[in-house]
Every structure is written in C-alpha cells, then in structure tokens.
Amino acid sequence: MLIGGIAVITRKNPVHSALALIVALLAQASIYLMLYAPFVAGVQIILYAGGIMVLFLFVIMLVSIDRSMKERQFNSQWVVGMIAATALGGLFIAVYTKGKSIFPDGVPAIVEGDNTQKVANLLYGQYMFAFEIASLLLLVAIIGAVVMAKKRI
C-alpha cells in the first residue's frame, strides 16, 4: 500500500497514478479484512476502487492532454510544501513514540461471527439519521456535478 501511495504522488503520467491508487485501495481493503471489517472492505472495493477511480479515469481521459505530461511535474512552491510535510511527519513521530505505551501489546481476539448483521443493526438503528442525511448529500452532489459540467445552464 505504501508503494502504491508513493507511486501516486511521483508518477508523471496521471493514468499511472490512478492505477497505483487502485492498487493502494485494494491493499487497504485487505487490511480491513485483517481488522475483521468485511463489510467495510466490500464497500471500499465496490465504491472506491470500482466507482470513484473509474470516475477519475474518465476525467483523466477527458482532460489530460499530452502537453501536460511533458512539462515539469512539481509545482512552484514545492520547497515550502516539503518543509510543511516534514514538520507534520515530525509531529506524527513525536506523538507515536510518546504515546506508544497506551496500546496493549496483544492482539484482541475477535470471535468470527456476524459482522455485517451488527453493522446493519447499528446503521439502521442508531445512525438512521446520518444515513438519511448521507443520501441527501449524494443527491446534492449529483445535481451539483451535473450543473458544473453542463455547457449552458
């Protein structure tokens, strides 16, 4: 997954970046399976790797002309960006080396059971309102995307 992530930010051809991102997303789905979250892994493969990345590939084919691949690929403020990213990395290293003792050493033993049923119980029970709001958000996003891409409003 890390190799896929590094390939996303360093490839010159945006199609290569999109394929590397698909590899990273599929690797992430397998990590979800290691954490016993099969429903989230399924949603990730279907929605993310099968929906969003296909959308990205369509837009890359519409938008990226060959001229953009021959130019420089790092923008004009990459020095400040790398400094900021190094500061963020230092913050992460400081947090994770100081707080290492909070997490127990063992691996929690999960009984392999009915994860999807429990997720569905919680989703339709306690988080029903958020579920409806998410569907409203998707409706707004669809209308917004159609309006943004029309030629004449």
Binding site: M1, L2, G5, V8, I9, P14, S17, L21, A24, Q28, I31, M34, L35, A37, V40, Q44, L47, Y48, I52, L55, F56, V59, L62, V63, S64, S68, E71, Q73, F74, N75, Q77, W78, G81, M82, A85, L88, F92, Y96, F103, P104, D105, V107, P108, I110, V111, G113, K118, V119, L122, L123, A130, A134, L137, A141, G144, A145, V147, M148, A149, K151
Partner: protein, 113 residues
C-alpha cells in the same frame, strides 16, 4: 513474528496521510492533487477501523464489547462523502478546463490581483 498491534495500523495510517499531504502540496496536475486527497481520506478510514477493532476488546461498561462498531460505520460514511466530493471536484475541474485548457495548478490564477 511480531504481533501486529493497533499501533502498527495507526503508524501506517499516519504514513499514508503524510504521502497524501505531500501529494497535495507539491504536485502541479490538479487530478493528481484530487487523488492525493483520496489518499488522505483513506488514511483516516484506516485509523477509524483500527480503533473500532481496538474498542471491541475493551470491557462493555466502558463502551466497548463486540458491538462497538462505530468506527466502521463512520468509515462507511467517510467513503460516501469521498465519493460525493470527488464527483463535485471533478465537475469543477471539467468546467475549469473548458475555459482555460490547462490542468496546472500554477495557472489557476484568474482571481489573483
């Protein structure tokens, strides 16, 4: 073999987040910046699911137990939001490309004084 504790997943999530931030801050192509934003959201999802896995081993009176799947539900909503935002962002990109014929961030300066 070293047992893979929660901390390992969190460090992996932090590394992915850092890669995404580097991609957002340093690349010129707008499409690759949007893909780095998706990397950031994936790192956040990994953190959420790792913590929900950790919560399932906590005692039930603290809120844990085998039903503590709140992190996984949150990550489902984050995936949904990422889909909506990717669609709208790509629509904006197409609308901008129709006017200016470029995908470089350095040339997105129509509002600059």
């Amino acid at each position: 073999m070293v047992p893979i504790t929660t901390l390992h997943y969190l460090v992996l999530g932090a590394a992915l987040f850092l890669l995404g931030v580097i991609g957002v801050l340093t690349r010129r192509n707008v499409v690759i910046v949007l893909m780095s934003i998706e990397l950031i959201l994936n790192a956040v999802n990994l953190n959420l699911v790792a913590f929900s896995h950790y919560w399932q081993s906590m005692p039930a009176r603290l809120g844990g137990g085998p039903l503590a799947l709140h992190g996984q539900i949150f990550s489902i909503f984050v995936i949904t939001d990422a889909a909506a935002e990717a669609a709208v962002g790509l629509g904006i990109l197409i609308a901008f490309f129709r006017n200016k014929e470029t995908v470089n961030i350095d040339e997105v300066n129509l509002l600059k004084w």
